[in-house]
Symmetry: C2
């Protein structure tokens, strides 16, 4: 169960590679969002709605997640709703609140645009053993959690 030999690298190398990857993704998402008639933050919010999967997401939740004001969320939801990605419904339990849910077909619509890039990444993964993918996923997951914690606590 030995993986292929990979060039040796330090933690700094890994972080540098991550930075570069993030920077490129950052530019790419702008194009990606534009293709869907949305902004980058719109996509962040929509992803959060999808991730919640049925659990009621409110406008305030999205403001916290995307680090924008609640005023900006109104605009974000206007675009997402106008584009048919989400629906706003009043919360029956607290009528000040707005419950945002994803339109079922919308996830596929986003996936269609994202698909080709996703496929390339999946192909890249075939070059790695299950053990290696496990390490990779573990690290990415923990780095993601770390980033979110840092973002919430230090900003």
């Amino acid at each position: 169960m030995e993986g292929k030999p990979r060039p040796t690298a330090s933690a700094a190398d890994a972080i540098g590679a991550l930075d570069d990857l993030v920077a490129t993704n950052l530019v790419g998402r702008q194009e990606f969002a534009r293709n869907l008639g949305l902004s980058v933050k719109d996509l962040v919010c929509f992803a959060h709605v999808l991730e919640a999967e049925g659990a009621p997401v409110t406008a305030g939740d999205l403001a916290g997640r995307a680090h924008v004001t609640t005023g900006a969320v109104t605009g974000i939801l206007n675009r997402l709703e106008r584009g048919g990605f989400v629906v706003r419904r009043p919360d029956p339990a607290d009528r000040r609140r707005v419950r945002v849910t994803a339109v079922p077909a919308a996830a596929e619509r986003v996936q269609a645009v994202y698909g080709p890039y996703y496929t390339l990444l999946a192909e890249l993964c075939t070059d790695y053993s299950p053990d290696e993918i496990a390490v990779l996923t573990d690290w990415l997951t923990r780095a993601g959690a770390l980033a979110r914690t840092y973002l919430e606590e230090s900003c």
Copy 2:
């Protein structure tokens, strides 16, 4: 030379974790840029200038890298120059061109803001063996190259 056991995961899991990490970093960079009086694209451009390390970077190069118009680059360079991050100098060989170079101390100034997050990631890495870091760096590097190629060719 066995690493710790990591939870098994599929390529889809890895890509999902990457997506989440990128989304969080995307939001974080906005805060990060604001702390420096810059925009996210300003940082992308400055990183490119640093990366070039002495090789002459032109305004047009930056437009290509950040996927913005040359008009926008003028504004980006104005901010970077006003903030003391880069200097613009006319190219002696082609006087239409502008050569952009980093101000030496500026890299450290950015690093100072980035530092705490970097440290957390470095700490996370201590939990992984050299082999695992090698795999990680390899994958991140290739994914970065893949993303850049895709961005250039398909947009």
